[in-house]
C-alpha cells in the first residue's frame, strides 16, 4: 500500500496536540486549596498520556507501514462492512467549493449578532444557493425570505425565543 501523506501529517499533528494537552495538564492546572485523593490534574494527565502513546503508535504505523499488509487491510475492510463503519472519503476534494462555503459560514457567524439573524441568514442562504446552483434565483430568494424573516418572526412572537434582531430592532423586532 502506498504511504498516505495526509495520514502521516495527521499523525504528527496528533502527537503535537497530545503533547500540548499533556503539558498543560501536567504544569498549568492549578492545585486546589484543599488536598484531595485525586487532584483535578490526574484524569487529564491520564488522558494525555494515553493520547501521546496512541498518537505515537499511529505515527509508527504510518511511517513504518503498519497496515501495509494487503491481507490485514482486506480483513479490516471486511470487519468494517460488518460493523457498518462509514465509507472512506476517497479522491480529491473540491476545495474551492468547500472554501467558499466555509468563508460564508465564518462571515455568517461574525455578522449573526451585528446584522441580526434575519439579515445575516438571508445573505448567507442566498450566497450559498447562488454559488452552488444559480438556476432558480427567484425560488431560492423566496425560500431565503421564509427561512430568515418569517422564521425570525415565528421564533420571537410565537416561541418567545430571542434571536438577535440587528438593525431590525429599530422596527420593533
Amino acid at each position: 500500500m502506498k504511504p498516505n501523506r495526509e495520514e502521516r501529517i495527521a499523525s504528527l499533528v496528533l502527537i503535537l496536540f497530545s503533547l500540548a494537552y499533556l503539558t498543560y495538564a501536567a504544569f498549568l492546572i492549578p492545585m486546589p486549596a484543599l488536598k484531595q485523593q485525586l487532584g483535578p490534574d490526574a484524569f487529564p494527565k491520564a488522558i494525555g498520556v494515553g493520547m501521546v502513546i496512541l498518537a505515537g503508535i499511529y505515527a509508527f504505523q504510518q511511517f513504518r507501514g503498519g497496515l501495509a499488509d494487503q491481507t490485514k487491510a482486506q480483513e479490516a475492510e471486511k470487519r468494517a462492512a460488518i460493523i457498518g463503519a462509514e465509507g472512506k472519503i476517497k479522491g480529491v476534494a473540491d476545495l474551492k467549493t468547500m472554501g467558499f462555503m466555509l468563508v460564508v459560514m465564518l462571515l455568517y457567524a461574525f455578522f449573526f449578532e451585528h446584522l441580526g439573524y434575519a439579515i445575516s441568514t438571508f445573505l448567507a442562504f442566498m450566497a450559498g444557493c447562488l454559488y452552488l446552483d444559480r438556476r432558480h434565483p427567484v425560488r431560492d430568494a423566496i425560500i431565503a425570505v421564509i427561512a430568515s424573516f418569517v422564521l425570525q418572526y415565528i421564533f420571537s412572537a410565537w416561541l418567545r425565543v430571542r434571536l438577535p434582531a440587528g438593525p431590525l430592532s429599530y422596527f420593533g423586532l
Binding site: 495520514e7 492545585m31 484543599l34 494515553g50 493520547m51 472519503i89 462555503m101 452552488l132 416561541l159
Partner: protein
C-alpha cells in the same frame, strides 16, 4: 399489579394531546431524516435537540425517541428505491431490497420493511417494559467503582465497533474525554483548559461539538464532491402489499431478526448496524430460501429491518436503566437529557416513573404511527428524494446555526461549531470515527467523578476496581472488546511461540 399500574401511568402520560402531537412530530421528522441520504439519526437528533429546550424532560425524550425510531423506519425507503442507505443500519437492506424493486416488487419490499420494523419495535418496547425495572433494580447495587467500570466497558464496546482501526477509534474516544475536561472542575472548583476565557468556564458545549462533528461535517463532505453521479431512483409499481407467499416467508425472518437484533444489537450493545448484518448472516444460515439472498429475497429485507429496530429499542434499556448510552445516537440523547437537568440511570424508575413509563407507552404509540405513516405515505417520502442537494445543505447550515445559538446566545459557539465541522471533515477523511468523541464528551465528567469517589472509598487504592467482582467483570469485558480485533494475531503469535505450525 405494579406492572399494570405503571403501564396505566405511562399511557396516561403519553396519551395527553401534547405528547401525542410530539410523538407524531418526532416520528415524522425521524422518517424524513431516515429517508434523506447522508443525514443519519445522530445528525438528526443533534440538529433537533434545540426544539426540546422549551419542553420538560418527558416531552423531550418522547420527541427524541420518536426521531430515533422514525429514522430507523425511514432509512429503508432509500435503500429499497435508490440503493443508497438512509443510515448505516439500512445498508444491508440494499442487498435484496433494491433487487426486489428492480423486479417491480418495491411495494412488498417496503411493506416487509415497515411491518418488520413495527413488530420488532413493539417487541423491544415490551422487553424494555418487562426487563427495564429488573435491570434498574440490579444496578441500584452498583457503587462508584461499578459505575466507573461500566462506563469504561460501554466506551470500549462502542469504540471497538466504531471503525476500521482500533488505534484511531481509541484516539477519538480520548479526544472526547479530553474535551470533557475543559471548564471548571466540579469537585475542586479549579479552572482547566479555559485559557482565561470566561465563556469556557462551563466547558465546551456538547451541542456545539455534536452539531459540528455530524451536521456541518456532512455538509462539508457533500460540498467536497457535489458532482457525484446521479443515482437512479426506481418507482413503485403495483400494490404496496405482500402476497400470501410473501407472508409465509416474511414471518420466520421477522421473528429471527427481532430476537437476534434485540440481544446482539441492544443488550450486547453492538448497535443497530451490527444487528442488521448479524440478522442477514442468520438468514443465510437458516432460511429455506437462502440461495435467493442477494437476488431479491424478501428475507433479506424482513430480517435486517426487524433487527435494526429491535436493537434501537434494546439500546434504550442501557440508556434508561444504566445511564450508559449503547450507541452514538443514545449518547446524543443522553447529552440532551443532561442539558435538561435529568440524569438517566437506575434511580430513574423510582424517582421519575412518569418519565420512564410515559416514554415506554409513547414508544408503543409511536410504532403504530410509524406503520401508518410509512406505508400509505411512502409516495410522499419518495418525493423528498427530489429536494435539490444544495437546498438541503443550506438548510442544514441554517438549522445548525439556529440550534447552537439558541443554546447559549454565544457567537463564540458558532465559530467553535464551524471549527468542529472542519475537524469532523478531517476525521472523516482520515477514517477516524466521530461517534466515540460524543460518547467521551457525554461520559467523561461522570467517569472522572465516579473514579474520584471510588478512590475516596478505597483511600487511594486502585485495587478497588479489581477486588469488586462486578467491576472486575466489566473491566474484563472492556479488555475483551479492545483486544477482539487482534485475537487472530495473538493466536498466531502464541502458536509460533510454542512451535506449532499455522493451520492450512
Amino acid at each position: 399489579m405494579d406492572f399494570w399500574h405503571n403501564l396505566t401511568l405511562g399511557f396516561s402520560v403519553a396519551g395527553t394531546p401534547i405528547h401525542l402531537l410530539l410523538a407524531l412530530v418526532g416520528v415524522f421528522l425521524g422518517t424524513v431524516i431516515g429517508v434523506l441520504p447522508g443525514i443519519g439519526p445522530m445528525t438528526g437528533v443533534a440538529l433537533l435537540i434545540p426544539l426540546t429546550f422549551s419542553l420538560n424532560p418527558t416531552s423531550a425524550i418522547i420527541l427524541m425517541a420518536g426521531i430515533y425510531y422514525g429514522a430507523m423506519y425511514g432509512g429503508s425507503t432509500t435503500s429499497i428505491l435508490v440503493n443508497a442507505p438512509g443510515e448505516s443500519s439500512s445498508v444491508v437492506t440494499c442487498f435484496d431490497g433494491y433487487e426486489m424493486a428492480k423486479k417491480g416488487r418495491a411495494g412488498p419490499a417496503l411493506a416487509a420493511a415497515a411491518i418488520g420494523s413495527f413488530v420488532a419495535g413493539t417487541f423491544a418496547t415490551l422487553m424494555l417494559m418487562i426487563f427495564g425495572p429488573w435491570v434498574a433494580k440490579i444496578a441500584l447495587n452498583f457503587g462508584p467503582p461499578e459505575f466507573f467500570s461500566l462506563m469504561v466497558a460501554g466506551l470500549t464496546v462502542v469504540t471497538s465497533l466504531a471503525g476500521r482501526s482500533m488505534v484511531k477509534a481509541l484516539l477519538s474516544t480520548l479526544f472526547g474525554l479530553a474535551i470533557a475536561t475543559f471548564g471548571i472542575d466540579q469537585q475542586s472548583g479549579v479552572p482547566r483548559f479555559t485559557f482565561g476565557n470566561p465563556e469556557l468556564m462551563d466547558g465546551l458545549e456538547f451541542l456545539v461539538v455534536a452539531i459540528g462533528l455530524f451536521a456541518l461535517c456532512e455538509v462539508l463532505v457533500n460540498l467536497a464532491d457535489m458532482r457525484q453521479a446521479v443515482q437512479e431512483r426506481l418507482t413503485i409499481r403495483g400494490g404496496l402489499w405482500m402476497s400470501k407467499e410473501d407472508w409465509k416467508r416474511f414471518i420466520p425472518s421477522c421473528i429471527r431478526g427481532t430476537l437476534s437484533g434485540f440481544f446482539v444489537g441492544g443488550i450486547a450493545g453492538a448497535g443497530a448496524a451490527v444487528a442488521s448484518f448479524v440478522s442477514y448472516g442468520l438468514e443465510k444460515k437458516s432460511s429455506k430460501y437462502r440461495d435467493e439472498l442477494g437476488k431479491g429475497a424478501i428475507e433479506g429485507v424482513a430480517g435486517p429491518e426487524s433487527a435494526n429496530n429491535s436493537a434501537a429499542g434494546g439500546a434504550l434499556i442501557h440508556l434508561l436503566c444504566l445511564g450508559i448510552p449503547g450507541s452514538g445516537t443514545t449518547a446524543i440523547m443522553l447529552g440532551a437529557l443532561l442539558m435538561l437537568g435529568l440524569q438517566p440511570g437506575p434511580l430513574l424508575f423510582q424517582q421519575q416513573p412518569q418519565f420512564v413509563w410515559g416514554l415506554i407507552a409513547s414508544m408503543y404509540i409511536g410504532n403504530v404511527m410509524l406503520l401508518v405513516l410509512n406505508l400509505p405515505l411512502v409516495g410522499m417520502w419518495v418525493k423528498l428524494l427530489d429536494v435539490p442537494l444544495y437546498l438541503l445543505l443550506n438548510f442544514i447550515i441554517l438549522f445548525s446555526f439556529l440550534g447552537v445559538y439558541t443554546t447559549n446566545n454565544s457567537t463564540q459557539d458558532l465559530f467553535l461549531m464551524v471549527g468542529f465541522g472542519v475537524i469532523g471533515y478531517l476525521m472523516k477523511r482520515l477514517d477516524i470515527p466521530a461517534s466515540p468523541v460524543i460518547l467521551g464528551i457525554v461520559l467523561g465528567r461522570l467517569m472522572e467523578e465516579k473514579m474520584r469517589q471510588s478512590l475516596v472509598i478505597s483511600d487511594g487504592s486502585m485495587m478497588i476496581f479489581i477486588t469488586r467482582p462486578i467491576s472486575l467483570a466489566l473491566l474484563l469485558l472492556a479488555v475483551v472488546s479492545l483486544t477482539n480485533p487482534y485475537w487472530k494475531q495473538i493466536g498466531a503469535a502464541v502458536r509460533r511461540l510454542f512451535g506449532k505450525t499455522e493451520p492450512a
